[in-house]
């Protein structure tokens, strides 16, 4: 992890740059900007060319005097080389709200780089840019790049970075900064800092502030490697404004370093054997997954393990871990299967303690275990390989019997093999009986969900069950992807009613719980789905959209097809429930709990908001009978390649 560095020594470059200004007429532009040869990775770098004699230190008066003949243009720049490196890393897109501290890189991306791979996407807020990268990764499995001011831009971006870090999602962030005070224009002073990355260092995995282009190249490749190695997380590179804008002469032969990705760590073989023995011998084993499915290979592996054992699976929803209608998916019965389990395996579960214990939020908080006495608890997680101190995302310490510090997905193949080797004919018959009971319980749970959805079917505001049923009817024949994080814990209607079976059907939640993630992450995920021809669908909550609705304009401008169905309950409803709890606990004002947490008077017209941002929109819809036709019209728009929004006034939950 990088630490604060002393003020940067940019004297050679800055002096050389000033020398251009003073002596350009003498030296000649061509000689000054001759591009340094770029060499391939792994080739030895040639010694740097001899440098010109440094001119005398300039005085303020001299700086203010225009030379008779100036060299005012150049054919190359440091940021061109930066684009070469960025391209080598395979970025498809780079998101930014424009800012002067990275104007050099901005120009190189769109001109030198041809605005392709990466293509620059215009964002209206840095938080949106980073959250788009968050959502994009969850579909595409590779990071999106972001440019931002090192100070004001990073401060805007910080919340989204925190979400990505908590969710262990890589976002590649490049920040502009004028480190050399002698060349700062007025506004540059506000956009400069000694240690730019300091404010997000607690919730990024690595950062650096390169002093040279070679330094940049190595750090850029290292940053990518660090970000993408499980446990993944955002990384930051601070790009000096002078390094971006100055020429590449004097930087030696520049090379793009080779990128070699590490193999994620697999669990210890003896520990895997021990876990396999526990699982095969167990009467009621439970497999619990949160961020297990790191790639599309994750879900099939968990299915294979579960079917081999005929074990109950609880999908905590951090990723698309297990098909929602699989007979072994017991997510809706989580507490029941936990209570009867004799072996519980947490697979990349961040809050394992919270899943096997209950914390009661009354005046005096109390806890109790949900497991039966003697149940064996096992974890497989990269969480045991990475922990930070300040932000408390590591949760309570779970008392487990076996902790395997490894990547869950990488460990599953060996675990499946180990289990298969131990299964006898007798155990297989026991497994089949267990599986049949779980399948019966699954069918009953599904029937209960359908029955529960039928209540308040004709109600206005529209019930959330009706909303989800109407939406499902319009997408189930499509290659769909639910890109919003509407209730990730399995209690939400989509996961109770819909058939989630593909890796991109469900993308998990915000990670850090910061509201404002939903809309931009949905747009980023829809961007990734676009090239696959998928129908991206978001159940968009109102409070979330109001953080940065400008991302709808980004979707319209860049023709990102996304169907947003507003779950408009006209409130920050979770907060209402918190305040209500305080009102009740204190025996006063139970009818005032809504004050400060509603979005009424005036009601927000999200259709007009979206229309003003260039998005097809209808609503507000209050009669459930109007919902189906409106969704059908919106789907047609999205299939044309554009975003669309349907504002539905809903019940609170």
């Amino acid at each position: 992890m990088a630490r604060p560095k002393p003020p940067k020594q940019r004297t050679p470059v800055s002096i050389e740059r000033r020398r251009f200004l003073r002596t350009g007429g003498l030296a000649g532009a061509a000689a000054l900007v001759a591009p340094t040869e770029l060499v391939g990775a792994q080739q030895p770098a040639a010694p740097p060319p001899s440098r010109p004699v440094a001119p005398p230190v300039m005085t303020m008066a001299a700086e203010g005097t225009a030379p008779a003949e100036e060299t005012l243009t150049t054919d190359s720049s440091g940021s061109d080389f930066m684009v070469d490196v960025v391209k080598s890393l395979g970025f498809e897109y780079i998101c930014a709200n424009p800012g002067s501290s990275f104007r050099g890189l901005h120009e190189s991306v769109i001109n030198y780089g041809g605005n392709q791979k990466p293509e620059l996407l215009t964002c209206c807020h840095e938080e949106s840019a980073v959250a788009m990268g968050h959502g994009y990764f969850k579909v595409e499995g590779k990071p999106l790049a972001v440019m931002a001011h090192g100070t004001v831009g990073l401060q805007h971006a910080a919340m989204a970075i925190y979400n990505a870090w908590c969710d262990r999602v890589p976002v590649y962030i490049m920040l502009g900064n004028y480190g050399d005070a002698a060349i700062r224009r007025g506004a540059d002073w506000y956009h400069a800092a000694q240690d730019v990355a300091a404010m997000v260092r607690d919730y990024t995995k690595w950062d650096d502030a390169p002093r040279s282009l070679t330094h940049f190249a190595e750090s850029a490749v290292r940053a990518y490697k660090v970000a993408m190695t499980p446990p993944m997380a955002p990384v930051v590179l601070v790009l000096d404004g002078g390094l971006q804008e100055d020429g590449i002469e004097g930087q030696g032969k520049l090379a793009v370093p080779k990128l070699t990705m590490p193999v994620p760590p697999q669990g210890d073989s003896a520990a895997i054997a021990e876990l396999a023995r526990l699982l095969v011998a167990a009467e009621n084993p439970v497999l619990m997954a949160y961020r297990l499915a790191r790639t599309p290979a994750g879900m099939p592996l968990l299915v294979e393990l579960a079917e081999t054992l005929q074990a109950a699976v609880i999908d905590k929803g951090g990723r698309m871990n297990f098909p929602s209608r699989h007979p072994l998916n017991q997510t809706e019965r989580a507490n029941a299967v936990i209570a009867s389990a004799d072996v519980i395996v947490g697979l990349e579960v961040t809050d394992f303690w919270g899943t096997v214990n209950s914390l009661r939020d009354q005046l005096h908080r109390s806890t109790r275990p949900l497991t039966k006495a003697g149940a064996k608890l096992v974890t497989i997680t990269t969480g045991d390989l990475y922990i930070r101190s300040n932000y408390q995302d590591f949760r309570r310490q779970a008392q487990v019997d076996l902790a395997i510090a490894a990547d869950g997905e990488a460990t599953l193949p060996a675990l499946v093999d180990a289990v298969r080797r131990l299964v006898t004919g007798d155990r297989r018959r026991v497994f089949q009986e267990r599986g049949a009971k779980l399948a019966d319980a699954k069918r009953a749970a599904f029937d209960r969900a359908r029955l529960a959805a039928s209540y308040a079917w004709e109600a206005s505001p529209v019930s959330t069950a009706r909303l989800c049923a109407e939406l499902w009817a319009h997408i189930k024949q499509e290659d769909w992807s639910l890109v919003s994080s509407y209730y990730s814990d399995g209690g939400g209607w989509p996961r109770r009613l819909w058939d989630f079976s593909k890796p991109y059907h469900w993308l998990g939640d915000a990670g850090g719980g910061g509201i404002g993630y939903g809309a931009p992450a949905s747009v980023g995920a829809a961007l990734a789905n676009r090239r696959h021809g998928r129908l991206s669908v978001a159940i968009q909550t109102d409070g979330d959209l109001m953080y940065a609705p400008g991302v709808l304009w980004t979707a319209a401008h860049h023709r990102i097809p996304l169907l947003s169905i507003m779950n408009n309950n006209r409130s920050y409803h979770m907060e209402i429930m918190h305040v209500q709890r305080m009102c009740n606990r204190r025996n006063r004002g139970i009818d005032r709990g809504q004050i400060g947490s509603t979005l009424v008077d005036p009601n927000i017209d999200y259709a007009k908001v979206a229309q003003g941002l260039g998005v097809h929109a209808e609503g507000p819809i209050t009669d459930p009978k109007d919902l189906g036709p409106a969704i059908a019209r919106a789907v047609a728009v999205v299939k044309r390649g554009e975003p669309a929004l349907v504002d539905v006034v809903t019940q609170v939950r």
């Binding site: 209540y455 814990d489 910061g514 918190h578």
Partner: protein, 131 residues
């Protein structure tokens, strides 16, 4: 930035037992039309207003059909005395409603509202909810 947690503990009446409606898709029971002799008289219209005013809808939804944070309460609610006992001293996550903020008459009115709720339409008549 307001931080929120999607898995915040529920305020709702914990436990599906608070609605006596069947959990089976095949056997749904109709709401009981009248209070039993042991129940105080309640006014369903007043109960509907108090249900919202007191924040019951926050977890149990507008028609008491239940939600992610609280179970369905009606139609066909649990017996009044069980309902009242749980409101006063919930054993789960629901915040307590003491006599100071919800009188016995308020409780009776809310219970009357729950009893008066219409049944859900037959599941077989809702194509969108077929498997």
């Amino acid at each position: 930035m307001r931080m929120k947690h999607l898995r915040l503990v529920a305020i709702g009446l914990a436990g599906a037992a608070l609605s006596a409606g069947s959990s089976s898709a095949q056997t749904r029971t109709a709401p009981r039309p009248e209070a039993s002799a042991a129940e105080p008289a309640g006014n369903a219209d007043k109960g509907k207003m108090f249900y919202r005013k007191a924040g019951c809808y926050q977890c149990h939804s507008e028609q008491a059909q239940g939600g992610t944070q609280g179970p369905r309460l009606g139609p066909n609610p649990v017996a009044f005395r069980i309902f009242e006992r749980y409101l006063r001293a919930p054993t789960g996550e629901m915040p307590p409603y003491s006599v100071k903020v919800m009188s016995d008459q308020d409780v009776a009115d809310v219970h009357a509202f729950l009893r008066a709720l219409p049944p859900a339409p037959p599941l077989s008549g809702l194509p969108l909810l077929q498997p």
